[in-house]
């Protein structure tokens, strides 16, 4: 067992974990933050994306012990004071989700994308999300949702 201290969504946690425990299992099983999902066993799907120290990470590809001392943001920590994040709002407004299973990972990946490129083209959104799979939407409305959020975060009128 190893002892780690991780800040998740602004709260500090100290836990004893097996050295082989994946970060995604730590979040889901130890901290009960089940909004971060698991969709594969080969780091392909992106359902598990969270931000670690501000950078998007597939949490199935990282050990919990590697997150010792880190600052983690998950989907549960995105809305502030009951106010949805523009990305959450965009996904709702633009029907960017159907079953919702890919959605937390998709939103967290898009968060990082917009952080790096606040004014992306549709093509850049598609490429920026290439590590995230969605089987329901065909991505059409996910691209719209991200553009909605991008516009809102730039302080512009949201696209129709």
């Amino acid at each position: 067992m190893a002892t780690i201290t991780v800040t998740v969504n602004g709260k500090s946690y100290t836990s004893d974990v097996e050295p082989r425990m994946l970060l995604v299992h730590y979040l889901r099983e130890h901290l009960n933050l089940t909004g971060t999902h698991i969709g594969c066993d080969t780091s392909q799907c992106g359902a598990c994306v969270v931000l670690v120290d501000g950078v998007s990470v597939k949490s199935c590809t990282m050990l919990a012990v590697q997150a010792d001392g880190a600052n983690v943001l998950t989907i549960e920590g995105l809305a502030q004071n009951g106010q949805l994040h523009p990305l959450q709002e965009g996904f709702w407004e633009c029907h960017g989700l159907q079953c919702g299973y890919c959605t937390p990972g998709m939103i967290m990946a898009a968060y990082d994308l917009l952080q790096q490129n606040p004014n992306p083209t549709d093509e850049e959104v598609r490429h920026g999300l290439e590590g995230n799979l969605c089987r329901c939407t065909g991505y059409h409305n996910i691209v719209r949702a991200v553009q909605y959020a991008a516009a809102k975060m730039r302080g512009e009128a949201v696209p129709a």
Partner: protein
């Protein structure tokens, strides 16, 4: 109700989904999110061989491993019956072999479950699986459906000579033979509809809990049909009263058919929970999902289409080998028969058609319904062949379609293949609209120009028709189509004392937005605020028996059950209002949530007032039962038949074989639309899955029966940059089958799209002499098709 009196009509509006707030904030409750006190974790040891005898299994080391609660093999579970096959091909003999919960004596495909470990956590369970020693004696393997039927092929099951599950046919063979013999032109192809893996982003799983005091089980499972699972598990697998099991589908992360069926983990979690006295959870890894959960498609078809040089199609003859895998999944034989063979002529009036289908066992994962289920295979076949025929006679493919379409005045239309009559359609209108959006004539000029510059553009048309709301019990039930049961759907509507409306239904969403659309319908019909309507589903405790969500049936069947229950509520409300107002019940009008006396709209009672009166119940019409509470079991008179035309434009680089999908236009007609945003979303997702088949996906088994595409690393589910934006539009031809005029939209996109893309690719390659190529059109396959055509010419 008229539109004027109903300013806030919700039906037809793009209402944001009520399902979403929890899903976008990480508050959904999917199967793996559920934790029960004392819960254990299951891991399955699976066969690495596609066909082998099990000589011995030694579980002693696994049992001794710290943290392991129990280890079981198939021999321990002989008290469980094999999983049933509920839909066998109608009117023919089916050589049925279904899977046991864990294999006994022999394994038949890679992934066949051999042993089960229950442990304190999932890591330990996996460790212990690795400690189980199994001795196998490998047997010969066959994975190809056609080869499996040849003499000398390895045999999977004793009761199925030549591995044949069933031989099934539809249409008129003599007529088709004659039409083909007499035709001016006959085009022939072998068309392969490759095996696909449905890949809902959430894998499957189950959690079971057992209460020894009452002998009751609770099963949470990723199911599209919880009531059916309850029935099948109790009555068929366990042999216990149905009332001893409650099944709950939590949030389900996509289904696409794969989650309709009865799987072994539902049974072994229940069995083990009872045995060890603690709850048991099992969740598949993705690679387990790929190996064990059902696949789709996998047809090898020889097809001949006959016609005249003027473009008239005169005959169609089809022989299909449908690979059903190592055992029969829950509804496997129904897919290549009822939902494929019976709609093989598509949108066309073809006077002579015949289809023969062999269902075949092979050493591969079970094959069952995957989005579209039989209809994508049928529409791919006919649409590919219509293009092939058009190219052969040198006629425009749009023109050939026009010439052979079933005309609007021919509905209801009997296609002669044993299907119920097509309900309504205007195929040419949808085709024309799609051609107009895409700028067809202009495109043909561009294509001409581009070719001169060595650029290869192609356009592909797909004019499809499909079957939705598969239900009428007197057709689908025994002895007709072999389903052995009805496919009606249920809904209960209650108006509580406070005026809040609670709807419970056997339909359930896993992405389709059923809560939102059903609430739109109820709010409009009852004239109550949308937020006052709650839709409950997915739990066998608290919802009436229903068949579940698949086959694009939630709205056309389940939604109609809701609609009917609401109508009954309105009737009762009128009687109560008449009593309250001392008026004649026949003079009452229900409008906008009020009941008034005809001619004096100010003499009214609101639904809330009536509901209160019905609940407190001290002053009701003589003999009337209290409460506004109505249930409907809706069995529609027919299926519905959505249709449309999709058009793809591609550019192919002949040097690299790379296909660039430049535009995708979809014109769909799913009858009246309740929520256009949701319908568009369904179409988008469906199109993506069809494009995926055309360009990317193929499940590959090697000759030893190893699944080569066994993870998401090897199986090419497209990401965002691999798909174009979609241009969607609609025509609206209401269905006469139900009063809402709706048809269904869940599968249309998938049924329409693969052939639009493939027709475009082959159109682009026509200058090289390519007449057909198999899916997927990967760069390698395209490159080979070009070289093969050049070598042949």
């Amino acid at each position: 109700m008229t539109a004027e009196t109903m300013p806030t009509k919700l039906v037809g509006q793009a209402i944001k989904r009520r399902e979403d707030p929890q899903l976008i904030t990480g508050q959904g409750s999917f199967l793996d999110d559920i934790k029960l006190p004392g819960m254990t974790h299951a891991c399955v040891l699976r066969s690495p061989y596609a066909h082998a005898k099990i000589k011995s299994i030694d579980t002693s080391k696994a049992k001794a491993h710290p943290g392991v609660v129990a280890v079981f093999t198939g021999e321990d579970m002989l008290d469980l019956n094999p999983l049933p096959c509920a839909w066998q091909a109608g009117r023919v003999k089916n050589n049925v072999n279904t899977p046991r919960v864990l294999a006994v004596g022999e394994v038949h495909f890679v992934g066949d479950p051999v042993a089960l470990v229950i442990a304190e956590d999932r890591y330990i369970a996996r460790d212990a699986c690795d400690l189980i020693e199994v001795e196998y004696e490998p047997l010969p393997v066959v994975v190809d459906a056609k080869k499996a039927t040849e003499p000398g092929a390895p045999q999977l099951h004793e009761n199925a000579p030549n591995n044949i599950v069933m031989e099934w046919e539809a249409g008129d063979k003599a007529k088709a033979d004659a039409a083909i013999a007499a035709a001016e032109v006959v085009v022939r192809e072998q068309i392969i509809n490759q095996r696909l893996i449905p890949t809902p982003m959430e894998t499957r799983g189950s959690i079971a809990r057992y209460e020894p005091a009452t002998g009751e089980f609770t099963l949470w499972t990723t199911s599209q049909a919880p009531h059916v699972m309850r029935l099948v598990l109790t009555a068929f697998v366990f042999g216990i009263p149905e009332t001893k099991l409650r099944v709950i589908s939590p949030n389900v992360g996509g289904g696409f058919g794969q989650k309709i069926f009865c799987y072994n983990d539902m049974a072994f979690t229940m069995w083990a929970a009872r045995k060890i006295g603690r709850p048991v959870k099992f969740v598949e890894d993705r690679s387990e999902n790929y190996k064990y959960s059902t696949h789709g498609r996998d047809h090898i078809t020889d097809v001949e289409l006959a016609g005249n040089r003027d473009g008239t199609i005169t005959g169609l003859r089809v022989t299909t080998y449908a690979n059903l895998g190592a055992y029969l999944s829950t509804i496997a034989p129904g897919i290549p028969t009822t939902l494929y063979g019976r709609i093989i002529t598509g949108a066309y009036r073809i006077p002579a058609a015949y289809v023969k289908v062999y269902g075949v066992y092979t050493n591969t994962a079970m094959v069952d319904a995957y989005r579209g289920a039989g209809r994508p295979e049928a529409s791919y076949l006919i649409e590919r062949m219509v293009d092939r025929f058009a190219a052969e006679i040198g006629m425009d493919p749009a023109e050939v379609r026009r010439k052979n379409f079933i005309p609007p005045d021919a509905f209801p239309y009997d296609n002669g293949l044993g299907l119920l009559p097509y309900d309504s359609g205007n195929y040419e209108a949808a085709l024309n609209k799609a051609l107009e959006i895409v700028g067809y004539a202009e495109f043909r000029k561009q294509q001409e120009e581009a070719r001169k510059q060595g650029k290869y553009l192609g356009i592909g048309i797909s004019s499809y028709v499909e079957i939705c709301g598969v239900a009428p019990s007197k057709w689908i039930g025994l002895p007709g189509e072999g389903w052995g049961a009805g496919l009606w759907e249920s809904a209960n509507v209650r108006v509580h004392l406070t005026g809040k409306v609670v709807v419970t239904t056997g339909s359930l969403p896993h992405g389709q937005g059923v809560e939102t659309t059903f609430a739109q319908i109820v709010a409009d019909e009852l004239g109550v605020p949308y937020d006052d309507v709650v839709i409950e589903h997915s739990d066998t405790a608290g919802t009436p028996f229903g068949y579940g969500t698949y086959g694009s049936r939630s709205l056309a069947v389940g939604g109609m059950a809701v609609y009917r229950s609401v109508a009954k509520i309105k009737e009762k409300a009128k009687k109560i209002a008449a009593h309250m107002l001392e008026a004649n019940p026949d003079d009452m009008v229900y409008e906008n949530g009020r009941v008034y006396v005809k001619g004096s709209p100010d003499r009214f009672k609101t639904l809330a007032e009536i509901a209160l009166q019905a609940s407190v119940a001290y002053d009701l019409p003589e003999g009337m039962e209290p409460f506004l509470d109505e249930t409907t079991y809706y069995d529609p008179p027919n299926c519905t038949f959505p249709f449309g035309t999709h058009i793809a434009i591609v550019e192919v680089d002949p040097d690299t074989g790379i296909v660039d999908l430049k535009r995708y236009v979809a014109v769909d007609d799913c009858g009246n639309v309740i929520n256009p945003m949701i319908v568009d979303g369904q179409i988008h997702g469906g199109i993506a899955q069809g494009i995926a088949q055309a360009l990317y996906e193929r499940a590959v088994y090697d000759e030893n029966g190893q699944l080569v595409t066994g993870t998401l690393m090897d199986y090419a589910v497209p990401a965002a940059h691999m798909l174009p934006p979609f241009e969607t539009a609609r025509t609206v031809t209401p269905s006469p089958v139900n009063p809402l005029g709706v048809k269904g939209a869940g599968e249309a996109g998938t049924i329409a799209s693969a052939q639009a893309v493939m027709n475009a690719v082959i159109d682009a390659l026509s200058p090289f002499g390519v007449k057909h190529m198999q899916m997927p059109a990967t760069p390698e396959n395209v490159w080979k098709a070009i070289r093969a055509a050049q070598a042949a010419s």
